[in-house]
């Protein structure tokens, strides 16, 4: 710190001198420029915010007088502008100077103009009305022969320009693309990019010129055009596939060091250009094998060339990894990229660790084994002092949550939640926990009722007031609708009621309003489950809350609704009477209304019971919406001369027709957002015919909002959605096979590692971490060795919400079922269905039996010859599924597969994975039950925002089956009958 002070002190005299020298001989100017210094010094000397305010207000009023005085020269104005910018930066309003900034840009000489433009770009925003006054100046400067003026005009255009006025300057800027100076070309490209951002329809016709810019001999111009291409490819990648070759070539040149040395940064050739190119390639190669193949070489080279000597090489590496995992996968590249991720994650540099976690989060769905490799690092990051790292780690864990690790992960999240103060983090995290728990999905991993309710209690108490309103709503709906099992549901509700009663017993604890609302709803609905004679106890508690001033009136409405429900179950209650007395005179009209309703309902117990039935919250009540029971009354009133009822709109119309004096409706805006009205601009520059030629397209492109069509959905609720489009079998196969071997190796490694660990004496801490790791990463990758059937599966299926899933997804699931069933009835051993064809189905129960291959008809003779090798491989339960459907380019992977140890040789599971599974995150195939002839297995697929449970039934006997019935019984998960 002292050296800084010293530096500041030594710099001071020089600065003042400099100020004066800049001021030059002109006395006026000196006084003005030192005034900024004076102002700054004045502010620095002040001790309180209040004094600063006073000083600046005074300064501003001085400035106001100066700028509006007719005697003020432009040179003085320039100094005033700088001071105004300073005041504005400190947060004071200097709007009186805006018009003068525009004037300065218009009238000043080069230097004054520069200040004027700067002030305008800092003061105004895109839609500011004064900006229109600037258009003429910009047009004039763009036509100037002075390069500095042109540069300034291009800069201001790219910073801030009214959208309607684009046509006025567009032809001028287009011309600049051919300018001889590269700086002008570069700025022109960026200005056009800005236009593309704010009004894409207006620059459509110059896309061809962007291509020219891409091929510009100046690297800077090319780099500028990459901004545009990145944007356009992000919006519509299919339209630019033909440019892939060019981008690859450029990247090759850059990586190869063909650019001028000037572009090297710490001896890395043009890192920013490399980053941009890699991102573009990632977008282009997504789900496109042909395009991806073009870039494998250059990506490989980038990975190889990036020697880790500087921060910026890591930036390139990170982009490389990202691209490798975005494009159509290639196993060698994936392997290398995975190694790179290791470098990031294991780096002692915290920034790199952060990015490593980010990369892991990104790739985790494609390759969960990576998380296993780095599990210890991830555990360490969980306790990292930096909250950002911690949060990123939780994000990662959130992606790998499954039935076995849910308690640990949620516990970690809650710990973090309790520590965080920032609202944004709380909202985010609460949403995630709720998401994991149950509320946004159909299936939950929650192990038991108590845990579930307690976790939700924690979530509500911390995030209650900021959380998304869907969370409490979904929670209540979940309680109301229940899961598969009615007794289980009752237990859950009962537990919730008990837990809330205990919570309300605690004195002097303040719960968030949302939580109180949930409590009052649950107590109102399900208190009867406690089987108490009278709800006196709970009524007392609710009454206490109602009398509490800190409870909001919205919550009070919930509370009194609960009281009303409980009253219908009670016969008489002093508390209810007291409550009615209190609130019928309440100042809150809403509460008074509720109290009166309650009072009247109490007088008619029968009505009250039919109005508030017990445990019927999910059922619709029959209501006579036409109010037909009033017909008699209405007829009687009408006959006595009452005026007939007029609906609201009719009354409104009549009222309007009576008062047709002044029209307060605004006239249509003179400038519509359409680009074509812009042609009526004061500049009066007419557009080339090529613009009007595009009129058909303008309608579509009119809106400036984000265009989502054509952009692939990358992130869903569960995170990254890999390869949604890939529907063909061969496309999806390349990935799982190499992973397979990794999993196997990994399992082995893990086992040996554990052995070693046990031999070695370890510190206790280390062991705790190991324990944590094993609880966190259970069910990832190594799942094939764990028998899920025993514990996890039953747990994970406990809370399945049956009715909804089946309804919404019945189309797909039943088709899957019917397909499997049709297999039984047909004596042929192959079935084909358009959408769902089974990848492979093999019967390995009896070695003598023929193999059934569902798609043997689909496979050509060539792949049939591969079957023997498949037979060998299918020892391994997992690999049996994808390997049958191989095509030629997959052959290379077979050797590595066959060397993999057979994990479950005894398994007689006839496994059939739907083709879709390889595209989405899915769980392992788990055999649910089997006998000699039939085996039933299930697995889960996470897709977009839903979860499919796919049941596959396979025949092991080779006999023809007449029919198959599936019955879902509450006691067990599923039963199969013949």
């Amino acid at each position: 710190m002292s050296d800084i002070v010293e530096k500041t002190l030594t710099a001071l005299p020089g600065l003042f001198l400099q100020n004066q020298s800049v001021g030059g001989p002109a006395g006026v100017k000196t006084s003005f420029s030192s005034r900024l210094g004076g102002l700054v010094r004045g502010i620095t000397a002040l001790t309180s915010k209040h004094e600063e305010e006073k000083l600046i207000q005074q300064e501003l009023s001085n400035l106001k007088a100066t700028v509006s005085a007719p005697t003020t020269t432009l040179r003085m104005m320039k100094e005033c502008m700088v001071r105004l910018i300073y005041c504005e930066m400190l947060g004071y309003d200097a709007s009186f100077g805006y018009i003068h900034a525009i004037k300065l840009a218009q009238q000043g000489n080069l230097l004054e103009k520069r200040v004027g433009y700067l002030a305008v770009s800092l003061f105004l925003h895109e839609n500011h009305e004064l900006l229109l006054l600037l258009v003429n100046t910009v047009v004039k400067d763009l036509q100037s022969t002075n390069l500095v003026e042109v540069c300034m005009a291009l800069t201001i255009v790219s910073q801030i320009f009214p959208r309607e006025m684009i046509p006025a300057v567009l032809p001028l800027i287009e011309d600049k693309l051919q300018h001889s100076k590269e700086i002008i070309r570069r700025k022109a490209v960026l200005a056009l990019y800005k236009f593309h951002l704010i009004a894409p329809n207006q620059v459509q016709h110059i896309h061809i010129k962007f291509r020219k810019a891409l091929c510009d001999r100046d690297v800077g111009v090319m780099a500028a055009s990459l901004h545009i291409y990145f944007r356009m490819i992000k919006e519509n990648s299919s339209g630019y596939k033909d440019l892939t070759g060019s981008f690859v070539t450029i990247l090759k040149q850059v990586v190869g060091g063909k650019l001028p040395v000037d572009f090297n940064y710490h001896s890395v050739p043009a890192p920013w250009i490399q980053i941009q190119l890699l991102r573009i390639l990632g977008l282009l190669g997504k789900d496109d094998q042909r395009t991806s193949e073009l870039m494998y070489d250059v990506l490989d080279e980038s990975l190889r060339r990036a020697e880790l000597n500087h921060n910026v090489t890591y930036a390139i590496l990170f982009e490389c990894v990202h691209t490798v995992y975005s494009i159509y996968p290639k196993s060698e590249l994936l392997e290398k990229a995975a190694k790179c991720i290791g470098k990031f994650v294991l780096s002692p540099k915290i920034n790199l660790k952060y990015l490593g976690l980010k990369a892991l989060t990104y790739v985790i769905q494609q390759d969960p084994t990576l998380a296993l490799q780095h599990q210890m690092t991830i555990i360490e990051c969980l306790d990292h002092p930096d909250p950002i790292i911690k949060r990123e780690t939780l994000e990662l864990l959130y992606r790998i949550t499954n039935a076995q690790n849910i308690t640990v992960i949620v516990q970690k999240m809650l710990e973090y939640l309790h520590q965080s103060k920032e609202e944004y983090i709380i909202v985010n995290l609460v949403g995630k926990i709720a998401d994991i728990l149950v509320l946004n999905t159909v299936d939950t991993y929650a192990p038991d009722n108590a845990w579930f309710i307690q976790t939700m209690n924690a979530v509500f108490s911390v995030g209650g007031d900021v959380m998304h309103p869907d969370i409490p709503n979904n929670f209540m709906r979940l309680l109301a609708e229940g899961f598969d099992d009615e007794t289980e549901d009752q237990q859950l509700r009962l537990y919730a009621v008990q837990s809330y009663l205990t919570l309300l017993d605690v004195e002097n604890v303040f719960y968030p309003q949302k939580f109180l609302q949930v409590m009052s709803w649950v107590l109102g609905e399900y208190y009867y489950l406690l089987d108490k004679d009278t709800p006196e106890e709970v009524l007392t508690k609710l009454y206490k809350l109602l009398m509490n001033d800190s409870v909001s009136s919205e919550t009070k409405a919930w509370l009194i609704a609960a009281v009303t429900k409980l009253t219908s179950q009670a016969h008489s209650s002093n508390i209810v009477e007291r409550l009615i007395q209190e609130f019928t005179i309440s100042l809150d009209t809403c509460m008074r209304q509720h109290a009166f309703e309650l009072k009247h309902l109490r007088e008619n117990v029968e009505l009250m019971k039919s109005l508030l039935p017990v445990d019927k919250s999910c059922e619709d009540m029959v209501v006579d919406a036409s109010l037909s029971f009033l017909d008699g009354f209405v007829a009687e009133e009408l006959s006595q001369g009452a005026a007939p009822y007029k609906p609201h709109h009719q009354r409104q119309e009549e009222k309007l027709s009576q008062e047709k004096v002044l029209n307060f409706e605004p006239y249509g805006l003179s400038f519509s957002s359409s680009g074509f009205t812009g042609r009526q601009s004061p500049a009066g520059i007419s557009l080339g015919s090529d613009i009007s030629g595009n009129s058909a397209e303008t309608g579509m492109k009119e809106t400036n909002s984000l265009k989502l069509e054509g952009i692939k959905k990358l992130w869903g609720k569960e995170g990254y959605l890999p390869k949604k489009e890939g529907k063909t079998g061969d496309e999806t196969e390349a990935l799982p096979v190499p992973q397979e071997s990794i999993i196997m190796e990994n399992v082995d490694q893990a086992v040996t590692k554990k052995d070693q660990c046990q031999v070695l004496t370890q510190s206790k801490e280390e062991k705790e971490k190991q324990l944590l790791a094993s609880s966190l990463f259970v069910g990832l990758g190594s799942e094939s060795t764990i028998n899920l059937l025993g514990k996890a599966d039953t747990v994970s299926h406990k809370f399945r919400r049956k009715p909804k899933v089946k309804e919404t997804k019945s189309g797909e699931t039943t088709s899957a079922h019917s397909m499997t069933c049709s297999y039984f009835s047909s004596s042929s051993n192959a079935t084909y269905e358009d959408d769902y064809y089974l990848d492979a189905l093999q019967d390995r129960g009896d070695k003598e039996l023929n193999k059934f291959s569902l798609n043997s008809e689909l496979l050509d003779s060539e792949s049939l010859t591969e079957l023997p090798s498949v037979e060998k491989l299918s020892n391994c339960k997992l690999s049996s599924s994808p390997s049958l459907f191989t095509d030629n380019n997959m052959e290379g992977f077979h050797p590595s597969q066959s060397t993999a140890p057979s994990v479950a040789p005894e398994t007689s599971l006839a496994s059939s994975l739907l083709e879709e599974t390889s595209e989405h995150m899915h769980s392992e195939l788990v055999e649910v039950c089997h006998n000699e002839t039939i085996s039933v297995s299930s697995y889960k697929i996470w897709k977009d925002d839903c979860l499919f449970i796919v049941w596959s039934v396979s025949n092991k006997s080779g006999l023809e089956l007449k029919s198959a019935n599936l019955e879902i019984a509450p006691a067990e998960n599923f039963k199969v009958r013949q």
Binding site: M89, L110, A315, I388
Partner: protein, 154 residues
């Protein structure tokens, strides 16, 4: 795309504020100060802005030099490490232009700092990362200032 560039000192006094999509928003400036100031030097240089600027797609990337914090607010289309080095380029350029830049240079020559920034980032897009080129542009402008005539390269 870069959304905003903020420079402030250890006490949270703004030294340079530049928004690219909107006018200066003091609320954002203040909140950013608070977020960044309370972070230690030995933790990572990235921060998620959250509801601050435009939602979770945006993040703050900052560097701390002696008395000054340089904060860039960017969206997801920018590379984090790339921006980190861009800040370095910007600061090194300032250092070249002011010869041993210190906080006072930024205060008293606020306009010049803006001009230098304009050569690095234009309208939220990275214009130039080549330090020599940036300095050349600034020098050309300085010559203009001294002579107040058309510059040599014009």
């Amino acid at each position: 795309m870069i959304q905003a560039i903020l420079v402030f000192n250890n006490h949270g006094k703004p030294r340079l504020v530049r928004f690219y999509q909107q006018e200066i928003q003091q609320q954002i400036v203040r909140e950013t100060f608070h977020l960044v100031l309370k972070r230690d030097d030995n933790i990572c240089n990235f921060l998620e802005g959250g509801s601050l600027i435009g939602g979770s797609d945006y993040k703050l990337i900052y560097r701390h030099y002696a008395t000054l914090y340089f904060v860039f607010c960017v969206d997801s289309s920018e590379s984090e490490l790339g921006i980190l080095d861009l800040i370095q380029v910007f600061v090194e350029t300032l250092d070249k232009c002011f010869e041993n830049v210190c906080e006072l240079d930024l205060i008293f020559h606020m306009d010049k700092v803006h001009y230098i920034l304009q050569e690095v980032v234009m309208g939220g897009m990275v214009l130039e990362t080549n330090m020599n080129e940036i300095v050349a542009q600034i020098e050309a402008q300085n010559r203009l200032e001294k002579s107040e005539v058309t510059p040599r390269w014009a």
